[in-house]
């Protein structure tokens, strides 16, 4: 039978599919479904935009670029939802897409205003956006308490209300690692607070100069 069908196959390939099923109604996107998604986005924007903006601003170092990145994330959310994608955890999804978008923008290089001019050299062939992201973060983090970029990102995402598994999803880590990174951040801030307590008697953050922590 295989031999019977083999010569026939060439002609079958030319056969056109007969019916385009109407699984996706052409007007579906204009109706209540779309209104529902719009409301979903308004709700999400009111709850998540501030956290997302903070995260984007921290990564991009510039308010306008952060605003653009957050808009982009929400537009993508809208496009994905209207295309029928189910997003079980919109918050984690938005943070992940936002982070990837900022990384992509960095990869696109200095042509795009992302506010990292101060920390990025002109991208050469071996340019690594993760490292640039890390350098920008590292610069700010070292100015704070000596937290590593990963720890800062974990703290930021946790402050934005993300659970450990959501943070792990955004940063592509194991959720156990998220707990460990947060614990390290606590220990560092404790050390910094302890040092400043001894000096001032109040909680001011010590600049950890000359101190490097492995990420």
């Amino acid at each position: 039978m295989a031999t019977i069908f083999a010569p026939h196959s060439a002609s079958i390939v030319k056969v056109r599919f007969v019916v385009v099923s109407a699984t996706m109604d052409r007007n579906q996107l204009g109706g209540p479904l779309r209104a529902g998604i719009e409301q979903e986005i308004r709700d999400l924007y009111s709850t998540e935009a501030a956290g997302l903006l903070r995260h984007a601003a921290s990564a991009a170092g510039n308010g306008e670029a952060a605003q653009d990145a957050v808009q982009e994330a929400f537009l993508r959310f809208f496009i994905a939802r209207t295309a029928g994608q189910e997003i079980r955890n919109p918050r984690a999804w938005l943070f992940r897409v936002l982070r990837n978008h900022v990384l992509d923008q960095m990869k696109a290089g200095s042509r795009h205003e992302i506010g990292l001019e101060s920390v990025m050299n002109s991208p050469g062939p071996g340019y690594d956006p993760e490292a640039a992201y890390g350098r920008a973060e590292a610069l700010r983090a070292t100015l704070r308490t000596g937290l590593t970029p990963r720890e800062v990102e974990c703290v930021e995402l946790r402050s934005a209300g993300l659970r450990y598994d959501e943070i792990a999803g955004v940063l592509k880590l194991q959720s156990g690692t998220v707990g460990a990174l947060l614990t390290r951040a606590h220990k560092k801030i404790r050390a910094a607070a302890g040092a400043s307590d001894r000096r001032n008697g109040e909680l001011t953050l010590k600049v950890a100069t000359g101190k490097r922590y492995a990420s």
């Binding site: 996706m24 996107l29 986005i41 924007y45 808009q71 982009e72 295309a83 897409v97 707990g179 404790r190």
Partner: protein, 152 residues
């Protein structure tokens, strides 16, 4: 046995399984040292949050929402040739050229083609793969510019 700092951090974030969480809660009732440690962790958390939120962006979130809503209103009519070719490329990768030609009928809108692509991939490869393929289609795409294309 006193819980370690890592455990207390996870406990304060409600990231510990219920049974263990109950055990720790019982221990905390009897142990002033650990209560103090937990209180310190809460303070540290506030400090860390303040640190994370130190860079408040000087932008108006409402303006951002208006821009998103405007982009959404224009999206349906966006010709989005780049998006179309990306969706088509994904169908070609997973199904083949014949399926892609069949799907991309001339009168299909970009949003419909995207929906169809997602439906095909999620049906035959599952939700997770569909999500990844969607990410691949949108990766590097400037959706704000895409929705601005229809402006006169």
């Amino acid at each position: 046995m006193h819980p370690r700092t890592a455990t207390l951090v996870s406990f304060s974030d409600a990231e510990i399984n219920p049974a263990r969480s109950r055990r720790i809660a019982r221990h905390l009732q009897q142990c002033p040292n650990c209560q103090a440690a937990l209180e310190r962790i809460s303070q540290e958390k506030r400090s860390l949050s303040a640190l994370a939120g130190a860079e408040q962006p000087a932008v108006d979130p409402q303006r951002g929402l208006a821009a998103v809503l405007a982009g959404m209103a224009r999206w349906r009519e966006a010709p989005a040739p780049d998006l179309r070719s990306r969706a088509r490329a994904q169908i070609e990768i997973y199904f083949g050229c014949g399926a892609a030609s069949f799907m991309e009928s001339p009168d299909i809108r970009a949003d419909e083609l995207l929906a169809k692509t997602l439906e095909l991939i999620s049906t035959f490869l599952g939700q997770e793969a569909a999500e990844a393929v969607m990410g691949e289609i949108l990766r590097g795409l400037d959706c704000a510019a895409l929705t601005a294309e229809v402006l006169p």
